[in-house]
Amino acid sequence: MATIALRNLVKSYGKTDVIHGIDLDIADGEFVVFVGPSGCGKSTTLRMIAGLEEVSGGEILIGGEVVNELDPKRRNIAMVFQNYAIYPHMTVRQNIAFGLYTSPLSRDQKDARVTEAAAMLGLEPLLDRRPAALSGGQRQRVAIGRAMVRNPAAFLFDEPLSNLDAQLRAQMRIEIKRLHQRLGTTIAYVTHDQIEAMTMADRIVVMRDGHILQSGTPSEIYDSPVNVFTAQFIGSPSMNLVPGAEVAGRIAVQPGGPLLVGFRPHDLVVGAPEGAFTVSGAVTAVEPLGPETLVHFESGGRPVIATAPGRMVPAVGSTVTASVAAGALYLFDAATENALGRR
């Protein structure tokens, strides 16, 4: 187990910088999830930690030791790839044991480790199969097994679930999280799925264009996003934003106003008593989800999503009014897009 620290870490390909000097401390045993849009440098950061990519500037420390110049194998980390990277010409057992290829353990000890990992991942009945005869979720488990047997100081995951269907993804999320709780190993996990980030992370690191925008616990990020980008990135459906202004102590919609007013669809309730903020518009679409209905309409020239409670399903074309309770508004500066606090 180990801490991981990034100190002013830079990566450039030729003249283009893709990581612009990021700083981060990952505590021992912490589960840190990197999120951000495609191309923001999540994988590059992870690959630098793994030693697969050279560092262009700054330092990486694992367990307090600078590892910039160390080969991947000397860093004692394990990595799980998006495409599993398990070998088609080997059985599940051989694939898992491959993680111990260079280990000085005796044969029996290796076997014991493989069996233990397989048991933990529910792979025992599949040990003699080849990957071609496994489902996506099983393959991913094999890849995790191969990483586990080494008892690494840290696990690195690069979008491990993105090739799985939604149901399996939900299941694997829980399994990985449980594994973390059991092993207590430091984990750095990359995803562009904000649900994975919210549900698994001890801490979320939001990246954009090679910068860290914000890092904090899921609830910190959810409750106090530093800017519009983070606010919209975390939470589903994503946060509504309409131009607004403060008029006589009240926030109101105002096209071209100096503020961006943010509120989560879940907090914008159709037919709720007048709260801190009220919007209305003609319904363009409805998505009944059962316990509630998502209602789409337009306000201030921006699309807005609200929630209608219970079985109430407004008709498309009808005008609805929805309100946000006090305390659930997020204000941003319209020019800089930085957060101005809650209201």
Binding site: L52, M79, Q82, G99, Y101
Partner: protein, 278 residues
């Protein structure tokens, strides 16, 4: 087929193609049959052009095989073809892998240099090879026969193309697991390109087994002849003894036939893989 009773579709195009293929097959197989048939005849029957010999005999085989030279040539051919094949499988894939999976200065130049040798016909290279062999004292040696083929541009190119299809993740996962680069190549990358390797091995073996021009030039000692050279010298010696020549030829063909029959599946696949299907 949907039902056993369905009439095979009679398609004029199909019939034409089958007829042509059948004729082609007959034209190619007839000499082979004559070779085997003649090898079973006595000297007196050779000009009796019957397909099935009146009194088949294995005498010719006994005579050829009891001539020590023939066994020697057989051994030479086998040894040379196997060595060159192993060498190609090893070095072509090592270089192909390096070119496919590593970024280093001059990589593209090396690749072009290797590729450009594909455009030089063997006939043009024979004189420099010969001069080089003479200079280094390689004439009349196994090494002299083998060295030009120990690595081929074609094989390197083929393997490079195949290694490019191996996902980098596979190699990186092994790198993180602590394997050194050579082991990654051998334990991870090589097993993933076995179809290409078997194609390369088969082509190289057959090519070397039947090689004639260069072995003829580089050897003068009968002891070092390969089968094709030995047989042609045999033909000269035994000017009129066709049954003996055919027996030798039949013996030389057997391994090739065996390779074709046993590895048919791989050969077909290999030809398609190598993009030689024309």
């Amino acid at each position: 087929m949907t039902t056993a009773l369905a009439m095979p579709r009679i398609n004029p195009g199909r019939i034409l193609i089958w007829t042509l293929l059948f004729l082609g097959g007959v034209i190619m197989v007839t000499p082979l049959i004559f070779m085997f048939s003649t090898s079973l005849k006595t000297a007196g029957q050779v000009y009796d052009l019957r397909m099935i010999p009146a009194a088949p005999t294995l005498d010719n085989y006994v005579r050829v095989l009891s001539d020590g030279r023939f066994l020697r040539w057989f051994f030479n051919s086998t040894f040379i073809a196997l060595t060159v094949t192993l060498s190609n499988v090893f070095f072509d894939s090592l270089v192909g892998y390096t070119l496919a999976k590593f970024r280093f200065r001059g990589r593209y130049f090396v690749f072009l240099a290797i590729l450009s040798t594909l455009m030089i016909p063997t006939e043009m290279l024979v004189i420099p090879w010969y001069l080089m062999s003479a200079e280094f004292g390689w004439l009349n040696s196994y090494w002299g026969i083998m060295f030009p083929g120990m690595m081929t541009a074609f094989g390197t190119f083929l393997m490079k193309q195949f290694f490019e299809t191996v996902p980098d993740d596979f190699l990186e996962a092994a790198r993180i697991d602590g394997l050194n680069e050579f082991t990654i190549w051998w334990r991870v990358a090589m097993p993933l390109v076995t179809p290409a390797l078997s194609a390369l091995a088969i082509f190289t073996f057959l090519g070397n087994w039947t090689a004639f021009f260069w072995p003829l030039i580089v050897t003068t000692s009968q002891d070092l002849y390969t089968l094709p050279i030995g047989l042609s010298s045999f033909a000269v010696e035994q000017a009129i003894q066709w049954e003996m020549i055919m027996t030798g030829a039949a013996l030389a063909t057997l391994p090739t036939l065996a390779v074709f029959l046993l590895l048919q599946r791989y050969i077909v696949r290999g030809v398609m893989l190598a993009g030689l299907k024309g």
